[in-house]
Every structure is written in structure tokens, then in C-alpha cells.
Amino acid sequence: MPNENPSPPSPLSHKERGGTIANSLSHKERGGTIANSLSHMRRGRTRWGVHLALIVVCGLICIPALYALQLATLTFDAAFRSPPQLFPPGNDLVENVSALFTRLQFGNLMLNTTIVALVVVVGKTALSLLAGLAFVYFQFPGKTFLFFVVLLTLLMPTEIILLPLFRMMSELEWGSLNPRLALTVPFLASATGVFLFRQHFANIPRELAEAAQLDGATPLRFLSNVLIPMSWNVIGAQALIQFIATWNAYLWPVLIVQDASQYVIQQGVRSASSSGGQTDFGLLMAAGIIASLPPLLLFILLQRQFMNGFALTRDK
């Protein structure tokens, strides 16, 4: 899962060229659909070739996961065998999964991770919205400088500051007493988000803001009543990537969280890998699969929103 830096395509210069993505890409307004344009190829044949190709590719992509699923159905002893039983699937998937939830406290870990991910997502979105609002709808001295300051952090991933950040957590005693804060507060600002929302807001016609000003609306009201409703797709897309990135975070939690009851889910997967001094591959695969379910579900649910959020921005 890639780092959430930098921002997805929100082209800088199209505005200078006098266009908006919406104008240029809203083929719907031009009365066409991809289906129509490609209809000349369809001509009443079912596209077996395409189906076959898709199935083959899907199969290739899914083989590793299928193997993992198969291993997850085996007990420690059965997965022990070399080679492990390939077919039929074993009967111990339920046992493995329930072991995850009882011995390894997966339910608790998922709750921890969900809370952490939610806080990070909400924090990043809120802070980025506010910053985007400030950069687009206000003129103030030092604006360019401050924007540059924020932009520069796009190039500074967390990995380079792990050691000093850890020292800071020690001074604050967050690692031992407030691991939840240690996992969330340092990551609340998002240069990607600021960039994204700035682009998005900049694409919205100025007349809306003028109208709001004439109506005497406060900036916050303008944000909540006008901007946010127009930005749900972008917010949703950004939130999905952030959620997945936080859910999959491993290195920082391992460094900072000492209390096993406060672990995040990836740490749980790691602890499933060393069970009794032997690697229980069945349990480990089950752990990996279970740990990956929530982001997968979220992705499936938000799939369409995600595509819309980055492909098209609607003009209002």
C-alpha cells in the first residue's frame, strides 16, 4: 500500500489554460457514453475474448491469496507438512480464526486500529479542509511562504524522522501511557490533503464565495454549507487512502506501543507469526486475511465514490 503522498491528479495548470476538468471531461454533458462510443465493436457478440482475458488475469492476481486462504484452513501440524495439503481445504479455518479472536485478541486490536484510523482520517480531513479554505479564500501576508512551508513536507515522509519522533514520545510519555495519542497526533496534518483541497476549491468558481460573502456568511459556514457538500467525493477518496494507510501501518506502532492490549492489527499479524517458537503458517495466513478484510470491505463500498472523487469534479 503506497504512502499517501503526494496528491492525486489535480492538474495545476489547467486553470491557467482557462479550463476545468469538469468542462473537459464531462462527456456526459456532451451526450456520449463510453458504451455508445464502443458500441461499434459490440455488434451483438458476447465478448468471450475479453471475459477470458479478464478471468485469466484475475486468476493470476488471486492465486497468492487463494493459497493463503488454503493455508489458513490448516492446523499447525497440517501446515507443518511439506508440502502442505493443497486440496481439499482443511477443516480448521474456523479454529484458526477463532484462535485469532480469543488468544490473539484480534477483536480488540481491530477496535484499537479502527479508532486510531478514524481519528487520523478525521483529523487529516478537518485540518486539510481548514488549510485549503485559508489558502484559497483568504489573502494574507506570507501566504505564499506558508504554502511553500506546507508543500515542502510532501517530500518528508515519516520514515526519516522515526528516531527523534520516538524520543519526543518518550519525553511526553505517550508511548507508555497514551499510545493512542502517539499513533494519531503526529499525523494529523496532511500536506497531501492541503494540496488536494486547495486544488479542488480553486476549481470552484469564485462567484460562489462572492455570493456567500454578500450574504454575510462566515467562512466556516461557507465551508460547511457550500464547500463540503461539493467535496464529498474528494473527501471520500482521500479518506479511503488515509484509512488504508493507517490500517496497514506497522513500523511506527511496533516502535511505540509496548502494551499488547493496545497493539494495532498489523502488530497482531506479527505476533501470529511467532507462536510457540514455530511459525504457524495456518494461523499467520488467517491473521493476514482477517486483518485485510476491513480495508477491503471499505474499498469495495467506496469504490465508486473513489473513482468519482479523483476522475471528475463536478461544477456547481
Binding site: P2, V57, M156, I161, N178, A311
Partner: protein, 462 residues
């Protein structure tokens, strides 16, 4: 809006309530943590005057001969940049602007130079370090010069559409700025400071070595090979994942029944963490019958391949695992991008007699360039940083190359070596900090390069 306004308002309201509840919950349960944070802030702020006087004392004690070169270099860079700006855009009072540029440059150059304690300007320092010092000073000068340049180039803007309450803008920006400063800039400075020392975790004593860590790294055969390995693996991952993703995205954008289901099955691996990916591929590529691939090979062809013990093969396993992990992400964006290609353009080209490949390369591909550009950056970032989990699970730095691994590990990518040098007991964390800074410079350089040269080639639809 396609959704009814009432539904949207309800949705907005629910989300806002949820946010408020979440914040309240966090505040209440972690109240003591916030108190300590405030205390820490307060302590930091109260220590600020002391830091300022420390800085003043430092400069007072600094021999002028050591300070002078940094001032000169900074001023020169500043004047050079300002001169260029004046040349291209008319400026009132050019002399004053030039002077300002020189001052800004000289001042800005002190930021990094003071951090390294002007150590590269000592006479007994090696040539490589001196040159490094010049580069650092020049870069440091640019830090404030770029905003200065932006300020010089500012164009008057109409006041329409801007809110009047300026103070609010600062208030809105404050949380982001404070957070970035405290949790990103400040630790980065500390990383730089750490990289100037030789230190072994967990021993507390340290030795100031100026740029010695950087010079040792440059001369270290293992670091060099790690660098080359990272570049090669990154190239492989990025080209493969982008090319395959584009092909699959085209396939997945065809109008067939169940296309969205196919898409889900194609895209989902990106939601897996690199650790889980690494573990799954370990189960596939292990030696002996325990690994699925070897089992198939043995049953089918009677031969077995030692994937993880052969340097080149191990690299390819890492590449395959990483491509598998990130492919879904690329496909997702390409599918989104393909949906935005206007069909009329394709139809017009078809009428003009262009065949499918020609249509693809002259119309579709350029229209996808914003996505390609974005994905390039993301994939490169993943190959540099995110790949750690994959390497850790699969090869732990890979089979050693050369006698006793004097050429490093075959899959010892930069980020893996960094963590090993940071978190092994007795490990040189000063060198690890230097590696982190070098990695940052590489990524920053690559990203800036991509922004300047690739983005200009990106076509945006008009």
C-alpha cells in the same frame, strides 16, 4: 447535485456529529496525555529565549573566518537568484531588491550551516566534506529565497471572492502549521543533528564527526550496492506495475457484464499491507516442497529453483511481490482515468482511419498522463519506503553478494539497511540518520525532477 439536498444535509450532519463524538471521546480518555503535551509545549516555548541566547553565544564564539564563507555563499546565491528574477520580471527598485536577495540568502544559508555547526569550514576537514558543506550552504540559502522569489513575482489579485477576516486565515492554518512544525520539521532537524554524530545505540556517548557519516557512506561498498539495488528494483517495480496496470485497466474498462466485479477482483490486493504481502509470497517462494512454486515445479518439471537464495532471483521475487501489492492501486486510477477519455475523440480518430494502437497512443495515453505522473510519484515512493515490509518478510536483505557479503545483500534496499542500522542493538544510529537524510534528498530530488520535467509533458484536456 444528483443527491437530494435533504439527504446531503442529513449525511453532513451525521458525519459532523460523529466527528464531535469522536473528538470528545479522545479528549476525555486521553486527557492526561493532552495535559502533558501542553506542558511540553510550554516548556519548549519557555526554553525558546534560552535557545536564542544559545544561538547568540554560538555565533559570538564562532571565529569569523569560519562564518564568512557561509555568508558569502548565501549572499551570492541570493544575489544570483534575484538577478535572474529581475532579468525576467521588471522590479521597482532593483538595487534594493538585489540587496534584499543577498541578505535573505546570507541569512537563510545560516539555517543549515549553523545546524552542522559550520564544521565543514574548518581547515582540517577533508575535501569531500568541504564541497558537501558548500552544497549544503547553497541549498540552505534557497530555503528562504524561493518564497522571496515568489513574493517578488506576486501579481495583484482582485479582492473578489476573498473573505475579509484575515486573522481567521491564520487561525485555520494554525493547526496544520503547528502540527507540521512540531512533528515534522523539528524532528527532521534532530535527525540532521544526529547524523552529524557517530553513535551506537544504546550507548549514550557520541562523537561529533561533522559530515563524516556521509563520507563513510559514500565510500562504503555495501551502501553503494544498496543504492544500486534500490534503483534497479525501483525501476523494475515502477515500469512493470505501470505497464501492467495500464493494460489491465484497458481490459477492465471494456464494456462487459460484471465488469465491476472483475475490477474488484483485480484491484483488491492493494488493500493488503506490505507485511502480509511478504508473508504470502514467502509461502509461495520458499525453498523445497514447502513453497508452492517449487512444489509445482518439482511435480511438473522435476526441477527446483532456489528463489530466495539466488541473488538475482531474490530481487525478482521482491519485485513481483511489490508489483502484485501495488498493481491494484494503479489499476484503480487508470480505470478512473480511462473513464474520463472523451469517446468523441476516439470516434473521430477511428473515422480518420487510425487503428486501435494508434488511437491508444496518440489520444488515450496522453490523456492519461496526469494519472501516470501521479502514479509515478506514488510508485517510486512505495518502492523506496513501503517496500520495507516485503523485504523484511521475504529475504531480510537478501542473499549476500560477494565473499562474506562485502557487496551487500542482493535485496538490501536503502530503507531496509536504514532500519537495520537504526534498530539493531549496537548499531550505528548516527549513520542511520545520515542514511535517512540521503534518502530524503533522493526522494525530494526525484519528485522535484518529476514535477519540473515530466509535468511539463503532461497534457491536460482543454
Amino acid at each position: 447535485m444528483e443527491d437530494s439536498p435533504r439527504f446531503e444535509r442529513l449525511w453532513t450532519r451525521t458525519v459532523l456529529v460523529g466527528v464531535v463524538v469522536l473528538s470528545a471521546y479522545l479528549l476525555i480518555t486521553e486527557w492526561d496525555g493532552f495535559v502533558r503535551l501542553a506542558a511540553w509545549f510550554w516548556a519548549g516555548l519557555s526554553a525558546a529565549p534560552q535557545s536564542l541566547s544559545n544561538i547568540a553565544a554560538y555565533y559570538a564564539a564562532l571565529p569569523f573566518a569560519q562564518l564568512l564563507p557561509s555568508l558569502i555563499i548565501g549572499a551570492l546565491v541570493g544575489i544570483g537568484m534575484t538577478w535572474r528574477t529581475i532579468y525576467h520580471t521588471a522590479q521597482p527598485r532593483p538595487i534594493l531588491t538585489l540587496l534584499g536577495g543577498g541578505l535573505v540568502g546570507a541569512f537563510s544559508a545560516q539555517i543549515l550551516s549553523a545546524t552542522i555547526q559550520h564544521c565543514t569550514y574548518l581547515p582540517e576537514v577533508a575535501a569531500a566534506e568541504t564541497i558537501g558543506g558548500w552544497v549544503i550552504t547553497a541549498l540552505s540559502a534557497m530555503m528562504f529565497l524561493v518564497p522571496y522569489w515568489a513574493y517578488l513575482k506576486r501579481a495583484p489579485v482582485s479582492q473578489a471572492g476573498y473573505f475579509r477576516q484575515r486573522g481567521l486565515a491564520y487561525a485555520f492554518l494554525a493547526p496544520t502549521l503547528v502540527s507540521l512544525f512540531v512533528f515534522l520539521y523539528y524532528p527532521s532537524v534532530q535527525t540532521i543533528l544526529l547524523s552529524l554524530n557517530a553513535r551506537r545505540f544504546p550507548i549514550r556517548t557520541e562523537k561529533f564527526v561533522c559530515l563524516g557519516n556521509y563520507v563513510s557512506l559514500a565510500e562504503d561498498a555495501i551502501y553503494q550496492s544498496s543504492f544500486v539495488t534500490t534503483v534497479l528494483i525501483t525501476l523494475a517495480i515502477v515500469t512493470l506495475s505501470l505497464a501492467i496496470a495500464l493494460g489491465v485497466a484497458v481490459l477492465a474498462s471494456q464494456k462487459v457484464r460484471g465488469a465491476s466485479i472483475y475490477r474488484t477482483f483485480l484491484i483488491w490486493p492493494f488493500a493488503l499491507s506490505p507485511v502480509v504481502t511478504g508473508v504470502i509470497f514467502l509461502a509461495l517462494f520458499r525453498d523445497g516442497q514447502a513453497g508452492l512454486i517449487n512444489y509445482v515445479l518439482t511435480s511438473g518439471f522435476g526441477a527446483e529453483v532456489s528463489w530466495l537464495r539466488t541473488p538475482d532471483l531474490a530481487r525478482w521475487v521482491i519485485v513481483i511481490a511489490s508489483v502484485w501489492n501495488i498493481l491494484g492501486f494503479n489499476i484503480l486510477f487508470y480505470v478512473a482515468g480511462l473513464q474520463g477519455v472523451p469517446p468523441e475523440l476516439l470516434e473521430a480518430a477511428a473515422i480518420d482511419g487510425a487503428n486501435k494502437p494508434q488511437r491508444f497512443f496518440s489520444i488515450t495515453f496522453p490523456l492519461l498522463s496526469p494519472y501516470t505522473f501521479f502514479l509515478l510519484i506514488t510508485n517510486v515512493t512505495y518502492s523506496f519506503y513501503g517496500i520495507y515490509g516485503v523485504v523484511d518478510a521475504l529475504t531480510s536483505g537478501g542473499p549476500p553478494v560477494g565473499p562474506a557479503g562485502i557487496y551487500g545483500g542482493a535485496t538490501n534496499v536503502l530503507i531496509f539497511k536504514l532500519y537495520e542500522d537504526a534498530f539493531t542493538p549496537g548499531a550505528p544510529i548516527g549513520s542511520a540518520a545520515a542514511q535517512a537524510i540521503i534518502l530524503f534528498i533522493c526522494i525530494a530530488g526525484l519528485t522535484l525532477f518529476q514535477f519540473r520535467f515530466v509535468e511539463s509533458r503532461v497534457t491536460y484536456a482543454e
